[in-house]
């Protein structure tokens, strides 16, 4: 059998368990006596061990096994939680995460053994328990069984393997096994009725047994079990050299197994054979053989493409959301049918009004459909931020600064593709805040601030954007120092630096290889930071800006588009070309007299209800040959980026429209003004302006 089909489930579940372990360990660190937390940790560790073992990830299994031992002793009250212990456990979690990411990349756990962590764990275990480790080890195993509720009984009515229909060739195999001194066991396994993936569990049982011996028969057969065509129990015949206890233990260690019945099988117990059944059986075996060869082929292909992650990205979707989608699609079909029937009654007056009605109906359905599809793709930002508390804890220890992370708005939802990419930039900003942003404890006390530094991570929705702010109450960015550094590096001349505004100076930080840190630390300061963050966020269609106040802290604001695929846009005309401006960034549309345009720093501005707004001549920026005759009025679209406004001069307004955003591909580069393209009703292509780069 091939485990690759369970890989995705394994990865998902492992991620969940690791996250829960992380969370619970953080709690345990502050409340070492919390029994519930300890139990929770134990459960997660135990499941992890079972899963890793049955998937054949031996190293991962070994590490979790040793971690589980420690948890088990803590749970039994034989050991106390210490800071050292928590540190080692966190290291263990990191190692497990490394295994997992290897598995995700290549379906293989890699070759790192993490001997140091394992020996540290065992050392702690030995110190905590003295010399009794060996005995305790045995007890702990039976303890584990009790937790997962596995009991091994011998109740003959439940021992379904005694009723197995043994064929003549199987009889021969059994006889042969006896002759060479192998054990023959009949096994019946009952899976917990609450188990969701019973086929997977059953598979895990087979997989682990295959490592120990040969399963010559199963009831129902393996194919049916794989297809989940069984109740909660299945029986098999196993030829093995292992002892009965060993086999029993192996199966019992798999999670969600209710009961295991196992006994020596003798040929007298087996029922009569029939030729027909035999033929049928051999046929089935052939079938499964065929399948195996296909699998090996697939493996070969997978190995060739090892550069790509072996697991597809997936989203877990609430079944209700799918129901809504299904309903909408059926409505769509109804709307289409309505149109069809009208086109057949064309020409009549009834047809005319009905047509408009159907179009409106269709529009309503497509809008709802769009919304629902977007919702399916949305994932709360929590799935990235939940690893940050742990990171800040580690940083706090490493940098020897006291700090606290406050998060809010974790429920804010973003498109899955954005969620996948946003983790690293956020992590970088948080590291920056912890390392450069916050002062050392002594400095903070001297400055009259609370000793413990605060870092804030806030997410919220703002119009068509999601805003994520990373803020600290540290020393802020020293703008003069930034300028000095820039002059030293030759990025700026002294004169340029003198006239540079604070905002522009802060923007220097986003330039490649720019670092103001005097020393390079392990955490940050190599200058490969903010520019990478900026590039990444821009590639997601967002932007980033920084605000700072010397002595009071800095604030990095990331703005990301809420939806990636469909937006409302204002269509405008420039010369003979059509462009789309996303409606979310438009404030107002103004009719401006030429005479109202003023000049500041030889740049055109208008004074709009007390706001001085710079004017951007789009035809100049976009090199459009404007054939528009010169009038004394200009049509100006006022757009905003955060609190900054700008007026875009256009030739004509066309109107508002829902557009589907398409990429213009990777080949056309050095073009940040164009955020994408869309196809209009008549098949023509219109380009979408990225307002954030214009303003």
């Amino acid at each position: 059998m091939d485990v690759s089909q369970y890989l995705e489930i394994f990865i998902d579940e492992t991620k969940e368990h690791l996250q829960s372990l992380n969370d619970q360990l953080l709690i345990l660190e502050t409340e070492p006596e919390n029994v519930e937390t300890i139990n929770e940790i134990f459960r997660a560790a135990h499941s992890l061990k079972g899963m890793a073992g049955t998937m054949g990830f031996k190293r991962m299994q070994r590490l979790t096994h040793d971690m589980e031992n420690v948890f088990s002793e803590i749970r039994n009250g034989n050991m106390k939680v210490t800071a050292d212990l928590v540190d080692v456990l966190f290291k263990g979690l990191d190692a497990l995460e490394a295994y997992l990411s290897n598995i995700q990349e290549s379906a293989d756990e890699g070759t790192e053994d993490y001997e140091d962590i394992i020996s540290q764990l065992n050392k702690i275990l030995n110190i905590g328990l003295g010399k009794e480790t060996k005995e305790q080890g045995k007890e702990e195993v039976s303890g584990a069984d009790a937790v997962t509720g596995i009991t091994v009984q011998s109740d003959s009515s439940a021992e379904k393997f005694r009723n197995l229909n043994i064929q003549s060739y199987e009889r021969k195999a059994i006889q042969k096994a006896y002759d060479i001194g192998m054990n023959v066991f009949g096994i019946t396994v009952y899976i917990q009725e609450t188990c969701i993936l019973k086929a997977a569990r059953a598979f895990l049982v087979f997989k682990s047994l295959e490592g120990l011996g040969e399963v010559i028969k199963s009831q129902p057969d393996i194919q049916d079990i794989e297809d989940e065509k069984f109740d909660f129990d299945f029986s098999m015949v196993l030829l093995t050299k292992e002892s009965l206890e060993n086999i029993e233990m192996t199966i019992a260690n798999i999670s969600e197994i209710q009961n295991v019945y196992i006994d020596h099988l003798t040929l007298e117990q087996s029922a009569d054979d029939t030729m027909e059944a035999e033929e049928e059986n051999s046929h089935k075996q052939e079938k499964s053989n065929g399948k195996n060869t296909v699998n090996t082929k697939n493996n070969a292909i997978a190995a060739k493409q090892s550069s790509k992650p072996v697991v597809n990205r997936s989203v877990r979707v609430d079944i209700e959301k799918l129901d809504v989608l299904m309903n909408l699609v059926s409505e769509l079909i109804i709307a289409k049918n309505g149109l069809v029937s009208i086109s057949s009654s064309e020409g009549t007056s009834r047809g005319e009004s009905g047509f408009n009605e159907q179009i409106e109906y269709l529009e309503r359905v497509t809008t709802n459909l769009h919304e629902s599809v977007m919702k399916v793709r949305m994932v709360p930002i929590e799935s990235v931020t939940n690893r940050f508390p742990r990171m800040i804890r580690d940083l706090s220890k490493k940098l020897d600064k006291k700090m606290e992370l406050y998060m809010s708005g974790e429920e804010t939802e973003l498109d899955r593709t954005v969620i996948d990419e946003i983790g690293d930039p956020l992590m970088h900003l948080l590291r920056n805040a912890a390392d450069h942003g916050l002062e050392s404890n002594q400095e903070r006390i001297a400055a009259g601030k609370p000793e413990v530094g605060s870092i804030f991570l806030e997410a919220y929705q703002d119009g068509n954007n999601v805003v994520i702010e990373v803020r600290d109450d540290g020393g802020g960015i020293n703008v003069e120092k930034v300028k000095k550094k820039a002059v030293e590096k030759g990025t700026l001349t002294q004169e340029q630096a003198d006239v540079m505004s604070e905002k522009d100076a802060i923007d220097l930080l986003f330039r490649p290889s720019f670092s103001t840190a005097d020393t390079i630390s392990e955490v940050s300061g190599r200058g490969v930071g903010l520019d990478v963050v900026k590039t990444k966020i821009e590639s997601l269609g967002g932007d980033i800006e920084a605000n700072t106040k010397l002595g009071a802290g800095s604030n990095f604001i990331i703005r990301l588009p809420l939806t990636l695929a469909i937006i409302q846009a204002l269509m405008v005309e420039l010369g003979s070309e059509k462009y789309a401006i996303p409606l979310g960034s438009i404030q107002t549309i103004e009719d401006v007299k030429i005479s109202e345009i003023k000049y500041v720093h030889s740049k055109e501005v208008i004074n709009l209800r007390g706001n001085v707004i710079p004017i951007i001549r789009l035809d100049k920026v976009l090199d459009v040959e404007s054939d528009h005759e010169v009038t004394d009025h200009l049509t100006v679209v006022i757009v905003s980026k955060g609190d900054r406004l700008a007026g875009l001069v256009i030739d004509n307004l066309i109107g508002q429209q829902e557009i589907v955003i398409k990429s213009i591909g990777k080949y056309i580069t050095n073009n940040k003004i164009i955020g994408g393209a869309t196809i209009l009703g008549d098949g023509e292509v219109a380009l979408i302006l990225d307002v954030n780069t214009l303003v």
Binding site: L622, D623, G665, I668, N671, I674, A677, E684, V685, L687
Partner: protein
């Protein structure tokens, strides 16, 4: 039997006219050949990109190989075609040619390699093929697109 194997080793090329020369494009990269259609200009793009087109709902950038090779700009007529090339599954690109002539099979023996270090333009060629009396410059399509 012997001949069959030879046939398999030979590569097929689509022969196109660009200016006075005949160029061959390896058929395995070609997704489609479409007639000239309205191209939407993309401001601030590289000069040899004429813009983007809509090909059955997909936005595809279109490159003028004439401009890339430093020839005089294209004149579009009835023969002008856009060859849609796909180097990988996600990204297609269109290449404007004056005319599509035929498909030819060339095996290794009919192709002479060019010295790529000689001058820059030769980066765009993978060899020269002989077909009957005529010579066909074989485009190194990766080089043309990714350069």
């Amino acid at each position: 039997m012997e001949e069959n194997i030879k046939e398999l080793e030979a590569k097929q090329y689509i022969v196109v006219n660009i200016g006075q020369e005949q160029y061959g494009i390896d058929i395995k990269y070609i997704d489609n050949i479409v007639r000239m259609q309205r191209i939407t200009r993309v401001p601030k793009a590289q000069h040899y990109f004429k813009g983007v087109i809509n090909l059955r709902g997909e936005i595809i950038p279109v490159m003028s190989i004439r401009l890339k090779f430093g020839l005089e700009p294209d004149e579009f007529d009835n023969g002008t075609r856009i060859i849609i090339v796909k180097l990988d599954a996600q990204s297609a690109i269109g290449i404007i040619v004056d005319e599509v002539k035929e498909v030819v099979s060339l095996d290794e023996s009919m192709i002479s390699k060019v010295n790529t270090e000689l001058d820059e333009k030769n980066n765009y060629l993978s060899g020269v093929g002989k077909h009957g009396d005529s010579l066909i410059s074989l485009l190194n399509i990766q080089g043309v697109i990714n350069d």
